[in-house]
Amino acid sequence: MSGKRTAWAGILLRRAVQIVALGLLVGTVCFFMARSLPGDMATRIAAGRYGYDLVSNAAADAVRIELGLDRPLWLALLQWWGEIARLDLGTSLVTGNSVWSEVVHQLGATIDLAVASLAVAVVVGLPLGTWSGLHAGGCIDRLTLALAVVLRAVPPFLLAVLLMVLVAVRLGALPVAGDHHVGSVLLPALTLGLGLAAGLARVTRAAMREAAASPSFEFARTKGLSDRQALVRHGLRQAAAPVVAYLGVHAVFLVEGAVVVETLFAWPGIGHALVHAVFGRDVPMIQGAALCMGLLFVVFNLLVDAGCLALDPRRRRGEAA
């Protein structure tokens, strides 16, 4: 029991340090990147606020004075660090709203999408991978391999448009975009989840094959368990650890994919907000959105650590896996 507590304390401490380091790093990098983009920042912000029809040098000057954009770079950075220390992400330069309030709203939508995409990946990838691992070389194994290659090769943009045309427009089964219908999340989730499912199926297949060929699995059958019992009680548990680790590593795929998919499907998530903020040179929004996406990644990894800890007793005892 104390071993389990120690393991958990180690994980939480590691991730907490990661969160602080990541926050400072991501925010600072975004700060410098946004400031080093070509073009005048005040003009760009004025365009974001008033639309480019009303952008003028006078409007840009007004924005520059209002936001103190002429301040030295280091002063602006220090101010942001100070705000971050007070857990304040600042105010959007374009809308004037607090970044927290905007990000919280959008983060919820992104989490919905990420969870739905993971569900798609798990529902599609796990059964196919398990079956392929247990029946290597069979029809389904070969078909899964071909599908995985295609799905990993097709860029999300193309897959999204194909799904929109086939499922939403031709079949009329799901909405094309937006978030106000019950099934709105399915197409963006399929776009993100199918690519992940392809990789997951291959990893699961390999893990399953390894588990099925392992001495413990052989021993389970030798002691009298049926194939099904051996699979459920020993095989799946043994194969689960690499699969969970894979999902954790590829959670970043969901986060980065959200930027494209949310824009295409008009999904009101943080990826879409980030794109909008970059175009509008809204530095606090860029920093806030990037920070939250980074935190999301850390949280995913925390969940993976927890999953691995639960699955692998050696980790709880502090042994090498």
Partner: protein, 518 residues
Amino acid sequence: MTRPFVLTRRRALQLGAVGPAVAASTALQAQPARAPLQIVGPWEIGGLAPANSGYVFTRMQITETLMEAGDDGTPLPGLAERWRVSADGLVWHFTLRSAARFHDGTPVTAAAVVRCLQAARVAPALLSLAPIRSLEADGSGVVVVRLASPHGGLPALLAHSSTMVLAPSSYGSGGEVKAVLGSGPYRVVSLAPPQQVEAAVFEGYDGARPAVERVRYLTVGRSETRALMAEGGQADLAYGLDPASLVRLRKRGRVRVDTVTLPRTAILKVNAGLPALKDRRVRQALSLCIDRAGIAKALLRDPELSATQLFPPTLKAWHDPTLPPLIHDPGSAARLLAEAGWRRAADGLRDASGRPLQLSLRTFPDRPELPVIASALQEQWRQAGIAVQVNVGNSGDIPLGHRDGSLQLGLAARNYCTVPDPTGTLMQDFTAAGGDWGAMGWRSDALVQALSELSRGTSSAERAAALRARVTAVLQAELPVIPVTWYRQQVAVSGRVTGVSLDPLERSYRLSAMRWSA
């Protein structure tokens, strides 16, 4: 005889696999026949401040402005049912509709209007361009605007969305807008910036009750997605369609495509202060090299958008059909360049005394067609011996280049009806010192005088027409900016609605005139 339903393992698996899609699909189809009228467009809701996103709420008829405008920009009553101006043009009285109510049930008062207009006067908002000395409430129903000098464009400025009138309860303690409580026929039901706003009929509206009960606006950034939403029956009105999607929609025929020419023109801003471009013949040659019809047909897929003059036909008061049109004539261009001293060198480029005719052109991708048009121009000028380097940056590069003098050519899409009367925009663009989006290194006293007189407000319609004709003639002859193409708003309209008409000034979706199809 029917077979009893047995839930086998295989059937359960099948249900599990297709269940979510079927459930979602059923839910989609089970939407009531009168689901909200769905509008999709590219415009984001960038906050609640009128200067930022007022146009979203005025277009949805959630908020109103003191003045409205007809298709040709003629001032019409809005929240002010009538108005009058003193003989010296310095004092304007706007009388409010007595029965007008805000969405919180409170009456629309002159004091509330004055508060909004005061906020709208803060630079760089458009109302700050008017020489306003004071804004006062005369009782509860009359707004008095006192000017320092006559300004005939005041009604047009008061029709701009940044002057929309909000209830006092819309404002927070710090003066910021925390809710949008207008006085239009629709009231906000839900608002989720930057993407969505849903509105329902406001029962307390003092005018005709709209036939469509609920409307929803959704920001969709990608034009392909908007077109697919229209095609898939998810959007009733899809604004801002790209040429490729238009071709597809027209071919499939599932939805109707309505169009209206906008008072927007793709222009080349020319730095006429440069030695090469100071010569009017060179500017004319640049214009003659442009195959506008080719650009309109091949890139915009609409040959009628070839600009024959600065103002499109939709601006009836300013479009002059008697003007000699801008044409494509490479032969004349070559002759003019030669006359100006620019002759072809061995490398095919033109030069004068060893100075090659090399220019740089700035544009931006906010309007996706601009970089493509810039590439077409580059090639057309190359054939005439003019080397042009195209730089695609952001929209601010052009005003900045104007300020620091580094701009040579700038390609932009200029809206001449930001407010219904183009005079104000032209005053900004063609002052003696030039304008961020207009003239650079060029001035015309005749043009400035004509615009100044128009801005003050003229005594007769005939005089105003003569002044407008003078302005268009000078711009056509001198080419301080070179028109390339006009613009058309293309909207996919579903069969669910009737009574759709498009506003060429893009001020309103005209929802209250729409009805559901029988």
